[in-house]
Assembly symmetry: C2
């Protein structure tokens, strides 16, 4: 065996260096995986939860929070769990606020020995903070856009290596978070634009004020009941808000005429779904929304082929249009007219039922009838929600439209059934006589 004589100190150093490289290699590989996982998310909620999860794993600690700077309100906010819950506080408070303000990294090995730590939070939550690592998050212009905070490293305080690793993750996250914010802002702008457009179009005819927004809400209730995907729900919501866009091309005199329409005027009004389709087709909808024009344009088609504009039959009608169709009529029948009461709810349900299988698809009529009564009232009274008493809503949440129909059908309703009708009717019937 050939041997070599080396200086013991150098040899030891060599082994140490190798060990260090191995470790760093491991960490860089970890970092790469974190990065890959982070870059896959574009919605801010999911992105933040993902980042927090990844940091917990990589730093081997109990908790991680990402606080985002809200410049406008001078606040820091953080996502606390799935579902959009968040906490907010003034951006100069606490350790996170200190780091956001000064840009310093704070690695605190013993939280309770540090005067900047506020033990009240632990008191409130029952959590026991031991050590904390808090670093600023900077964007490419080097502005602080948030703060990373890791809590309770397992087996002792955070190391210098942890600081570096979190710093690297923070650098990657910053760009990704800004991208997600841009994306969400853009989406919000688009959504509120569509909603505003729907409202302005409805407003041309006082009879239909708020109609499109309510259809969107009823449709979404059905969507949840029949378990549509999130993607379908978004298409349905957009089509619902825009289904009457074509009315912009209907002459005002016809749209708002009080008396009976002439056959020519009737035909003119009936052209609106076709206008909707034609106008919407000019919009360069994204792939996920590409069917909106067809769906919105078919909201007056009927199962038996007697609808318009195309006279499509059952299977030819897009399923989302079938949902719009039943919600459209339901809203029309239950809508308030200026100083005139709503149609009796018994009659509304009767008309909808009678149309099942000819006008409307049975399946979606059944789904409509499964909507909870508290949801119905919240939609009906969308602009006066403050009048609805929480106790009444809680009570009504145990019943659906079907339950109400059943009560109408029995000869001798129980006290609870009587209460159901009484509470619902209290809000449904406006009693304009009394008001005036």
């Amino acid at each position: 065996m050939t041997t070599t004589i080396v200086d013991a100190k150098s040899y030891k150093r060599l082994l140490q260096e190798l060990e260090q490289h191995r470790k760093q290699h491991e960490r860089l590989k970890l970092l790469f995986n974190v990065t890959r996982n982070i870059t896959r998310e574009l919605t801010i909620d999911r992105l933040l939860l993902r980042i927090m999860d990844e940091v917990k794993n990589v730093l081997n600690c109990d908790r991680c929070s990402v606080f985002i700077m809200d410049e406008e309100n001078q606040e820091l906010w953080a996502q606390v769990a799935h579902g959009g819950d968040e906490i907010r506080f003034p951006s100069h408070l606490g350790i996170a606020g200190y780091v956001a303000t000064t840009g310093e990294t704070l690695n605190i090995p013993d939280a309770y020995a540090d005067h900047r730590f506020n033990p009240n939070i632990d008191k409130q939550t029952g959590y026991r903070t031991r050590n904390i690592l808090t670093i600023p998050m900077r964007n490419k212009m080097r502005n602080i856009i948030g703060v990373f905070q890791a809590l309770n490293k397992f087996g002792g305080p955070f190391t210098r290596d942890d600081e570096e690793l979190l710093d690297a993750i923070s650098a990657i996250s910053a760009g990704q978070i800004e991208n997600a914010q841009l994306y969400e802002e853009q989406k919000k702008t688009f959504d509120s634009f569509i909603e505003t457009l729907a409202t302005t179009i409805d407003a041309r005819d006082p009879m239909t004020a708020g109609h499109s927004k309510r259809i969107a809400m009823y449709s979404d209730e059905i969507a949840q009941i029949v378990k549509l995907t999130d993607a379908e729900r978004e298409v349905l919501r957009t089509a619902a808000l825009l289904h009457d866009y074509g009315k912009i091309a209907v002459r005002e005199a016809v749209l708002t005429k009080k008396g009976r329409l002439t056959p020519e005027e009737f035909e003119h009004i009936q052209s609106h779904p076709e206008f909707t389709r034609r106008i919407l087709r000019k919009i360069n909808f994204s792939r996920k929304l590409k069917d909106v024009p067809e769906i919105a344009g078919a909201h007056h088609e009927k199962i038996d082929g007697t609808g318009y504009p195309q006279g499509l039959r059952d299977k030819e009608i897009p399923k989302l249009s079938k949902i719009l169709a039943v919600c459209d009529v339901f809203d029309a029948l239950t809508s308030q007219r200026p100083y005139r009461d709503r149609m009796s709810f018994f009659k509304v349900l009767h008309i909808i039922n009678r149309g099942a299988g000819t006008d409307f698809d049975d399946f979606y009529v059944a789904a409509l009838k499964k909507i909870r009564l508290d949801r119905i009232l919240l939609i009906l009274e969308d602009e006066h929600k403050e009048n609805l008493r929480p106790g009444d809503l809680r009570f009504l949440s145990h019943f659906t439209l079907t339950d109400l129909m059943f009560v109408y059908a029995v000869d001798e309703p129980t006290p609870e059934q009587q209460k159901l009708v009484r509470v619902f009717t209290k809000y449904y019937v406006q009693n304009y006589e009394e008001v005036r």
Copy 2:
């Protein structure tokens, strides 16, 4: 000196391992930097150029292309330079097509010795390909969404290490590219939505068909002449397209009345900018577009305070509204009416000039007059561009509105000046008498 005796082979292996770790460490650090730079871009063009640059640096090669799969058209496309130029080809062709179809990595040390290489491209471009590394790019569902291709590694063919590195970059890029695509699709949908809305609102009044789109185009010409930022241009364009949104609330009978308006009707029409502002304020505009409602709502204000709805004066009027104001009047004066000729251009310029300093801001009137005549015609004839002869447009591109005014002012125009008036007038004057 303490010494240690070690097995020579192990020692050598130790040194090799250390060297390898050092190298890998360097590469991982490079990779991290690439990642950080890539995650900062959200617009697809800039992202792709950035990725290609980074890969060239990291792999030490002469070129890099990222081919993106266009599923709908079964094509691969790539950005070739700043400014949006792209190449496209069927997604099964060439080495990129082979990799996109099979999912294999191809590391070709000598291009001309490989039968899959198509030397025609080199022949066309004059480039000399030596070695090529081509790898598929997969998204998180492991679908191939594109292909990375690196050309001509300096100092020999690509190594196994290069393959791994490019693979890692590709994994990161895939997520980022998909995000950028989503963002751009969403932006396109929003933009075309606004444009469609503008068109539908203009269409209610045949007198103003296409008006909003033209104002957006004139405004953008001025924006470029006075060197507004890209962000300002986007705000201006949005405000221009939406400036007449409030007309949706103006009664049709008044909007389309042929004869003279009563004072009450005139006041009603004058309420439209205020409606515009109120409606647009309901939209949850993103930060970058937040001033759109104010800007759009002030397009009828005048420098001397005699405008409406607020009677703002010079410095109180947003500068982008001042641009809208001058373009609004310019378009109104030069618009075709159904079967009626446009106002003489001499008269138009006279009216605009007369209003400078009282109605309009001098500075933007001056900018308007700097617009090239070919651009003016392209906007005026937006819907009949095919009638404009390329030679005439080229000739007109050497002159501005100011030049045309100058010709009107001289007593004896030169032959070129005469040609200028003749060519411009040929398109500007519609000669409906002759047509009918």
